[in-house]
Amino acid sequence: MTLASLLDALYQTPLADQIRENEFAFPSIETVHVLAISLVVGSIAVLDLRLLGWASRERPVSRLSAEVLPVTWTAFAVAVATGLLLFASNAPKYAANPYFRVKLVLILLAGINMLVFQRLTRRNLATWDVEAATPRAARIAAALSLVAWTMVVAAGRWIGFTMLAGY
């Protein structure tokens, strides 16, 4: 099965048809998507600002992560689920949209950045957990994360403007 026929099959599903036909479906799903992305970006920024040493300096990084990351991951799961539904409603056109592709790459890069941080930089977290000043690698990861997520939001908005369903 080629990608094109797969996208077409997705487009033909009754669910995708419902999202296209029901005038409340798309805006409702999109609203939840925007809320979810807002919470992903906002909550991750809380951690990034701590890692940069700009805020929450008195909170141990481990403790702040444990409290904030469940919010981030829940919101991310909702963003992916609603994103898939929006994508299904017009799969071939979204797949061909350059901003959509850029957005997926940016999310992938944000994920790689996070994995590198978790696997390498966080390994010796115990030595700097309570310090306001964090290692350079942690600050770089935090800055990259803020840039990547800002660009994800921008790419998302540009998808809206180039698909012109309603912006």
Binding site: P27, E30, T31, V34, L35, I37, S38, L39, V40, V41, G42, S43, A45, V46, A55, S56, R59, R63, E67, V68, V71, T150, V153, A154, G156, R157, W158, G160, F161, G166, Y167
Partner: protein
């Protein structure tokens, strides 16, 4: 909304659409999406801050420290985020006044925003008075106000997205 406001709103709308700033915003393709991006980033800052403080009132965030401290940590985010939202919002209105001003979704959004801001600052002040030193749980009353305020912020977001889908006139 109120019939009384219809005429002046239309006049403001017509005047705004003729300003050179409005023309600039209409003619440079990337400006409006860029401003909307800033607006959503502002939404991200405010929503995350309000959510985390509300979770704090329910003992689910900032455990082991007084609620007043959690409020103190996130209040600046709201004080910074709200002006960014107002400014980017004003620019969006200037770009397309007819899309927003006469739009019921926009009018409802503004009404909800005023109530949300009032309740949130009320809750924040109560939390800061309640306990500066002790990490005692928030009172039931404070929890209710905080939860209602969070619900209102959600409603502001929903109404905001609905502006794009509500045909004006």
């Amino acid at each position: 909304m109120v019939g009384l406001l219809e005429q002046p709103l239309a006049a403001v709308s017509a005047w705004l659409a003729n300003t050179s700033l409005s023309h600039l915003l209409q003619n440079v393709d990337w400006l409006v999406p860029a401003i909307q991006t800033v607006h959503i980033l502002g939404v991200a800052v405010v929503m995350a801050a309000v959510l985390l403080v509300t979770l704090g009132a329910f003992g689910l965030h900032g455990r082991g420290q007084p609620l007043a401290r959690t409020v103190g940590r996130f209040a600046p985010a709201v004080y910074l985020g709200v002006p960014v939202l107002l400014l980017s919002g004003l620019l969006m209105i200037t770009a397309e006044p007819d899309r927003a001003l006469p739009n019921p979704a926009f009018q409802i959004k503004m009404a909800l925003l005023i109530i949300a801001l009032t309740l949130s600052s009320l809750a924040a002040r109560r939390a800061q008075r309640a306990g500066r030193s002790e990490s005692a749980p928030a009172s039931i009353g404070l929890r209710i106000v905080a939860a209602v305020a969070l619900g209102l912020w959600l409603a502001v977001l929903v109404a905001g997205r609905w502006i794009a889908y509500t045909l004006s006139r």
